[in-house]
Symmetry: C2
């Protein structure tokens, strides 16, 4: 029995509580390992009541993935008063710190959960698309050109994979700041390769 | 009923036949959509006999993923007598053509199947690692430096995602050769960013 205390909670509060508990479970293990029995026990409610809020386990996992995606997008949204390249750097730093704090969740979101089913995959695609779009917007690059759009998505995949590989390796070599610097430079050179003019990017 | 003809086949032939049928199904749809009933029907055998070769549906999917991974690694292995950058280019061209011919299989392998379960994920990780290792080896770059290893894996993720994005968009803009050129140049600049000396890469 966890912090649930069997109080009656308004619908939205109970829902938020269940997501919060689920999120702690995901941060410690992964989406796949989520047990709705344990979540219900931690909330001090019956499994049946949990299913009143989330009719299936998949519905619950999807709500958790949506929550994780929203938080990732929020924390990696740099202040809009920064210059373009400084925004990119701030966004990368926030991304890497977010991921480093909850590697299990991140890994299961981009690997495990992404393949779970079409709806999970859609959340993952949407998040990746939002990050790619934000990078282009932040750098003042139009996303009309297909080559630029493809490259921006590829860049997000690169950042994900480099971050995963770095975390698995102990997150110490290279140092965090060196990693951010390399990833920042990678954005600029990759967009140049996709045909974006250099000047557009380097104006600070 | 398909081409099965209910002949008795030696064990390894029947196994190969089932994988071949499964593979055609995956190429037309995805791993998720595989029905072992349909596979057995196409092979002209009972579902029970199929489970004699592959005790569970997951075992069958894993065999299909192993098969797809091996084929991808084989067709993208460029002739070793080419100069380093020419090898990279040939490997990229083979990769893109392989994927363009069977986008459903590729998409479900890198997205869907990768998240299916730990074993599918391991096949996916191993394939990505093999591709990254081959790029470094082909370019004569030592993989000892962690920054280089992380970046090589990130580069493979980038190639995957750019290819997926390009295919979804109709595979026409940019043209195939332009795409290959940009991805080839991306390998060089990204490895440079990870600290690899330029000269090592550009010697043809």
């Amino acid at each position: 029995m966890g912090e649930g205390t069997r109080r009656r909670l308004p619908h939205h509060e109970r829902r938020a509580q269940l997501i919060e508990i689920g999120r702690r479970h995901v941060e410690q293990a992964s989406f796949d390992a989520i047990s709705t029995d344990e979540i219900a026990a931690d909330a001090g409610i019956s499994r049946g009541l949990l299913f009143h809020y989330f009719p299936t386990r998949d519905d619950f996992l999807r709500a958790l993935a949506e929550d994780a995606s929203e938080e990732l997008l929020q924390v990696t949204d740099p202040p809009s008063d920064l210059a373009p390249v400084a925004r990119l750097r701030a966004g990368l730093a926030a991304y890497i710190d977010f991921v480093a704090e909850r590697p299990a969740m991140f890994l299961s979101l981009i690997r495990g959960a992404a393949g779970g089913n079409a709806e999970m995959q859609e959340i993952f695609e949407r998040t990746r698309g939002a990050l790619a779009g934000r990078i282009l917007e932040g750098l003042g690059v139009a996303a009309r050109d297909p080559a630029v759009r493809h490259m921006a998505r590829g860049y997000i995949a690169l950042v994900e994979e480099v971050t995963v590989s770095w975390l698995r390796d102990g997150a110490s070599d290279p140092q965090r700041d060196e990693l951010i610097e390399a990833l920042e430079a990678a954005a600029v050179v990759l967009l140049q390769l996709a045909g974006v003019a250099v000047d557009e990017l380097l104006v600070e």
